[in-house]
Amino acid sequence: MRTLVTGGTGYIGSSLLRRFPPAYSPVVLVRDESRTELLPDTVETVQGDITDYQSVETAMADIDVVVHMAAVNPGSRNSPNITSSVSDSVFRKVNVQGTKNVLDAAEDADVDSVVYLSTTKAHPDVDAADISMYVRTKSEGGDLFKNDEFSFDYSIIHPTYVMGPRDYRLKRYEPFRSAAANTVLIPPLYTPGRINIVHVDTVADSILYYLNNPTNNHHMVSGPNINRKRFAKELASLSSRRTIVSDVPFRNILLPLGVKTIDAIGLANVDASRLVLDSQTGIVPEVQEQRAPVSRKSWQEAVQDTWEWYEDVGLL
């Protein structure tokens, strides 16, 4: 089964491409500036860009199914042209118009099924208060499946906070380094709040599952919602030191006040805005916790595998 994969050099893509069963022949859509060195050696590539319809149409030749993951997200480090901030027009051009191009080309090529990778907050069950441009455009990309009458089947996958090996862009590295570099882990050295962690292999296996079993619906792929202190304790347990994790009482009052004082009297130049004191990452309604159509790897395994990968690459 020839499978066109967009976003193959991304975090989930790198794992997905290593987990395709032999029956599939993945073909990865790559741009000129794509980091093809991150792809498995033997994988087939085709040149193209989802913002260029012609190139997607050409790439769609002889394709049976599609995994569409390509997107820009905040702090995208995918291209030298897209650095720390992404303008609204780029979000729209890639995440909405790009998705439309993929779907139109898939329709023209008469593919059987499309899996679209979305994000936690774009799931209809998640009541998100502050919607970023990223979430809005990913959501609009998902809406295209329903608004337009396509003849292929589809599934829209919403992973929570993905962890596991091959974080080539180091987007998850900060809490790992902080845990490795501190014997006592107190806020703000770890961020209080809650997090929902899912293993990248579980997300990849779910994508493969829905390719074969499309539902024309949304699906969360998630772990349990956990307190970030538990996450910090898991990190501490992996550290070679006996790292202690501790909450600080009155952290919402005393700590920010202390930090601001240190900054104000000039003892140290501390940016209080960096001290995120309550962070909700990938949190889902209870009913959407621990969801996946395949056997799930635990969140602890996700954290451990991420840690080991950072060790292997010389960062921990």
């Binding site: 080539y168 180091l170 902080s178 570099a181 690459v313």
Partner: protein, 338 residues
């Protein structure tokens, strides 16, 4: 009972100066499968004190005589570079596996002859380039191998240190040259690993500032696959400055034997001796506890393990030594010493 019997491998060390005492003698004494059977040392007083301090079986004045009489399995050559060739050939003839300290030798002809002898005698070899065993350098190699650095655009290496204590370094017959012969081997060996190719020599300036017979100052520009690597090597009394600055499309790393710092894709890298700090308050304050290099033990132990496993593919076999010697020869040939 292992392959080599209960007594293990019989090891010898030729030359008992500082590198022998720091790296080779302790590694052979500490490895469970080696016995330090003999050492050879010209200086009688030194020989006697080393033999008695480490309780070594026998001491010889002449390394060749030791090789003939001691039936050694492996030998470390830790003498001045100018003596390496003859000792290496004698060791190969005796069927000894050889760890030879850097500089390998003083001419490319000698290096090639040594490689031939090792091949004919079918012995395992390793040359004493250290960086592949140093944690910070290993981390850089791992980051490169896992594509975290992107494309390397430019590298600067500064190595400024006191002149070596061994007087032979200032005698070109014995050393093959000054600061370049002394220091460049490690650097070349490492960057050949980083770029997985040998460099072109683009420019060379060598100067004799304070030492009469050999260069004590060098500015060299190499190019590895088009990437410039600029080197500044200097022997300055009482000075100690060692820095590799690596600029890539995805960040910047600054490292030496002690520390590794920088930013990769906006993320902090801060390690000492391969260790994270024990406290790091988001970069505002950072401190380490203890830590030290143990690469000297690691490199000799690794050589012993290769011999035990009959594995010829050591980290830096004689062929790497020939490659490095050729580049150093090219540099001396290009230079107009000032």
């Amino acid at each position: 009972m292992g392959l080599f019997g209960s007594t293990g491998l019989r090891a010898g060390v030729i030359g008992t100066g500082s590198v022998a005492e720091t790296a080779h003698i302790p590694a052979y004494l500490n490895h469970p499968k080696t016995t330090l059977a003999a050492v050879a040392e010209l200086d009688e007083g030194r020989r006697e004190s080393v033999v008695s301090e480490y309780d070594i079986g026998s001491g010889y004045r002449d390394g060749k005589q030791m090789l003939e009489e001691e039936n050694l399995d492996l030998v470390s050559i830790c003498t001045p570079a100018g003596t390496h060739r003859d000792l290496f050939l004698a060791a190969a003839k005796a069927g000894c596996h050889i760890y030879c300290e850097k500089p390998l030798t003083t001419s490319i002809e000698s290096a090639e002859r040594m490689a031939e002898a090792a091949a004919e005698a079918d012995v395992i070899t390793q040359i004493g380039y250290t960086r592949a065993y140093v944690e910070n350098y290993q981390a850089v190699l791992a980051m490169k191998a896992h594509h975290l650095l992107g494309d390397i655009k430019r590298v600067r290496v500064h190595r400024v240190r006191s002149p070596p204590a061994g007087g032979w370094n200032f005698d070109p017959e014995m050393s093959g040259g000054g600061v370049v012969a002394d220091q460049l081997g490690h650097i070349l060996d490492f960057y050949i690993r980083v770029f997985d190719t040998a460099p072109d020599v683009k420019s060379v300036t060598l100067e004799r500032l304070d030492i009469p017979n050999v260069e004590d100052y060098a500015e060299i520009t190499l190019e590895f696959d088009g990437v410039p690597v600029e080197l500044l090597l200097h022997w300055t009394p009482y000075a100690k400055h060692h820095r590799n600055l690596l600029v890539s499309t995805r960040g910047l790393l600054e490292f030496n034997l002690e520390s590794l710092n920088g930013q990769i894709q906006g993320e902090t890298v801060a390690q000492k001796y391969g260790k994270q700090p024990f406290v790091d308050l988001r970069g505002e304050f950072r401190a380490w506890w203890g830590g030290s290099n143990d690469f000297h033990d690691a490199r000799v132990t690794d050589f012993i393990d290769h011999v035990l496993e009959d594995n010829y593919d050591t980290v830096a076999p004689i062929q790497r030594g020939v490659e490095v010697t050729q580049i150093i020869a090219d540099i001396y040939n290009r230079s107009e010493l000032q």
